[in-house]
């Protein structure tokens, strides 16, 4: 074992030596606030888990460090019909156990992602059928024309069919008891540049470089150690004391300290996540308000008054320490469909806000309860507190209910019956395309078509719904973007949502390493370089 390990390291070092003159083993240690709950790529639809596993497993397409789509296990692809795509698979790729990667593995992984217990069914169902032409050519059929199929496939990771069947892990790890001890939950066998050598969920995960990786990568790291650290203060302390090379997220208020401390710095950048406020616009009477018999948010003037009462610059400057990007749009600049001219936030104008409230018939304001998570987004609770204080100044008395994410989501999501009148939420479209925002957040709630399920306040405009449907199957990018723009314009004019800002990515990095910070807050080991 020891010998083999040594050989592997030597081989890895030799492989890197081609790119840069490195011979010594380089260990990279990092910590995140959450943990790697499973190694099964189909177990949980969560960005951190998926991006972390992206170092072990790969999809047909992969993201580069700017979230651009690059060929992954597929060398190239072409659309042969609106609903048929031909993928040429990469030849000579081996799984970590030495097995060859073939078309059968793709079919198997797709079926596994659709299996009972999988949390990747939504992505996998973007594929209707797979036709195997030969070992390295497949044709994927989609249920409808899908211009962004390759984005949808990034996180559909490919597993080894033979290995999975041998280890009886042909269906995804699920939480139900009849799937006890699923092998892939604790073991992995991917094609990625790193492989897991030791995994104790919630304690430590150790990765080794895969010497046989199919592509040259920038990284010179041979070993990676990941530790989850929940307390922000403990995380920052571990970085400053030099025990770790990278910790994230770090509190934005600690940036100054990190920059002053020796050997470490704060690494910040815009995240693709948009934070916004939503209002219940569908119930005839708000669940949590002193106004009975009617719903103030149904009056556009009230929504407008809220929009003008919020001082986004103050939130940026004081709550986010200058690290947020105030926004007028429900998507970030990195997202396809972003419209620059619509991105100007609603103007801060408390006088106008008061006047609008008077006009709407609430000269003394009204009372409403706001739901807010307190451990989900950057400074989420503090943003809510600031909003409460700003709304108080125009006469709206907001009582704040800030809860941990499990309780918060349990209350406000569809499983809790959309039990909220006014709330804060954040959203990153996983596909990096606006369509996801249109169908999840801007369409009317509809359980059958599974649209608008995260439109918690049920902002509803049939015209938007109709256009969204068209966007879903339009393959002409120019026409498609024009329709997306029309939708965003409508929602903005109707004050359907109150966008606040894109939150910052906030990492603390040791000067010992150079890393690439992806806008989905993901760490890709391919771009981690230990400095000389």
């Amino acid at each position: 074992m020891k010998l083999r390990h040594g050989l592997m390291v030597a081989a890895a070092a030799a492989a890197i030596a081609v790119a840069a003159p490195v011979v010594k083993a380089e260990t990279f240690k990092y910590a995140f606030q959450g943990n790697l709950s499973s190694l099964d790529p189909h177990s949980l639809n969560e960005t951190f888990l998926l991006v972390s596993l992206g170092n072990i497993y790969e999809g047909l397409s992969i993201y580069d460090d700017n979230l651009g789509i690059q060929p992954g296990l597929a060398e190239s692809w072409e659309t042969i019909e609106p609903t048929k795509w031909k993928f040429n698979l990469r030849k000579g790729v081996k799984f970590h156990n030495g097995n060859d990667f073939t078309a059968q593995d793709v079919v198997f992984s797709w079926q596994r992602a659709l299996s009972e217990g999988s949390d990747q069914k939504v992505r996998a169902s973007k594929i209707k059928a797979i036709e195997v032409i030969d070992d390295h050519t497949i044709i994927i059929e989609t249920p409808a024309p899908n211009p962004i199929l390759t984005s949808d496939l990034v996180f559909v990771y490919i597993m080894d069919k033979e290995w999975s069947e041998k280890n009886k892990t042909a269906s995804a790890t699920s939480a139900s008891a009849d799937n006890t001890g699923n092998y892939a939950n604790l073991h992995s066998n991917g094609t990625g540049p790193f492989k897991v050598v030791d995994h104790k969920a919630d304690v430590k995960t150790t990765f080794d470089r895969n010497p046989a990786y199919w592509s040259k990568i920038k990284s010179n790291v041979t070993k990676v150690e990941f530790t989850p650290i929940k307390e922000a203060a403990t995380r920052v302390a571990a970085l400053i004391s030099g025990e770790l090379d990278l910790v994230y997220p770090i509190p934005v208020q600690d940036w100054k300290r990190l920059d002053e401390a020796e050997g470490v710095k704060a690494l910040a950048g815009p995240e693709a996540r948009t934070i916004f406020l939503g209002m219940d616009q569908s119930r005839d009477e708000l669940l949590y308000s002193n106004i009975k018999g009617k719903n103030p948010f149904k009056d556009i003037r009230v929504r407008q008054a809220f929009a003008h009462a919020l001082n986004l610059e103050a939130i940026k400057k004081k709550v986010m320490r200058g690290a947020a990007t105030p926004t007028g749009l429900m998507v970030a600049p990195q997202i396809n469909g972003f419209v620059e001219e619509l991105n100007t936030p609603y103007a801060y104008d408390p006088a106008k806000s008061k006047a609008l409230l008077v006009e709407a018939g609430y000269p003394d304001g009204f009372e409403v309860t706001m739901d807010c998570p307190n451990n989900r987004y950057v400074n989420d609770e503090k943003i809510c507190q600031a909003a409460v204080s700003m709304l108080a100044k125009v006469g709206v008395k907001v009582s704040l209910l800030a809860q941990p994410k499990s309780k918060y989501f349990g209350k406000v999501l569809s499983s809790g019956g959309f039990d909220t009148s006014f709330y804060l939420l954040g959203w990153t479209p996983g596909t990096m395309d606006s369509e996801n925002v249109l169908s999840s957040l801007l369409s009317c709630q509809n359980k059958e078509t599974k649209t608008g399920l995260f439109n918690l306040g049920n902002y509803c405009n049939p015209k938007v719904d109709e256009l969204t449907k068209k966007v879903g199957s339009e393959t002409d990018q120019v026409k498609r973007n024009a329709m997306i723009k029309e939708i965003f314009q409508t929602v903005k004019d109707e004050y359907g949502y109150l966008p606040l800002h894109q939150q910052p990515l906030s990492w603390g990095v040791s000067d010992r390493v150079t890393v690439s910070q992806r806008a989905d807050n993901g760490l890709d080991f391919r771009y981690v370089v230990v400095n000389k």
């Binding site: 203060a233 300290r257 709550v319 600031a386 409460v388 100044k393 209910l401 039990d419």
Partner: protein, 309 residues
Amino acid sequence: MENSVEKSRIARLLDNDVWHSYIRSPVAIISSIVTLIAIFGALFAPFLAPNDPFDMVAIDIMDSSLPPAWQLDGDPRFLLGTDDQGRGILSTIMYGARISLFVGFASVIFSMVVGITLGLISGYVGGRVDAFIMRIADIQLSFPAILIALLLDGVARGIVPKELHEDVTIYVLVFAIGISGWVQYARTVRGSTLVEKNKEYVQAARVIGIRRGTILRRHILPNVMGPVMVIATIHLAIAIITEATLSFLGVGVPPTTPSLGTLIRIGNEYLFSGEWWITIFPGAALVILVLAVNLLGDWLRDALNPKLR
């Protein structure tokens, strides 16, 4: 007649031994003054505090994170600086102490009442009742306050309607901290009761037909109050600390009406930011308050124990 005997006993106790011990102990004097100041400041916070940290209209986010008034960017309106929301630290400490002390006193009184009652019954009645109560006490002792509070908080959040959560949290805390403290009172009171009930004056009272409740209240209770006061003082300190710890674990009072513990938890996030006043002042306030109470309890124990004099 009984009244005058009882009164003179208490009076004698105070006039002579305890008072003299107090006068001669600078530690006791200082800590009692500190405690009184804290109670006074907390009680009259609405009149004394320079600003009202709970008034959403008055708070301005643009005032946030100001350093103490004597520093370069300080603002004279905020003597000890402001927190991340623009609330004056001094005012939040005064209001926070109010909540910490309320939770402390209320839970102490709660466990005192439960503990004394059960202890008296257990000691006086004896037999199966005694065995039953003491067994429950054993079980209770096996669970630390923190675990009980975590459990109860979870239950309460489930039972109570969501819109009332904020209002009931504080009572849940009082109940949780109180319920885990009654055993000590019960055991102490039971012990003293066992001793007292066989004394001649109690026997005599029983013989002349005074009712059980009256005997317990008039004759036995006053005799056990000394040790009970000692436990209560120390328990007050523990209750305040427990509340702070629970806040750290995320089940304390809501941050819109913070206690000292909540303030420290919030301040924790600013330990590395250079905004030391957000952490240090509430932390110091808590430590000084609890230390003063602990020192008082320590002194009281020695003062009430005639054997140690």
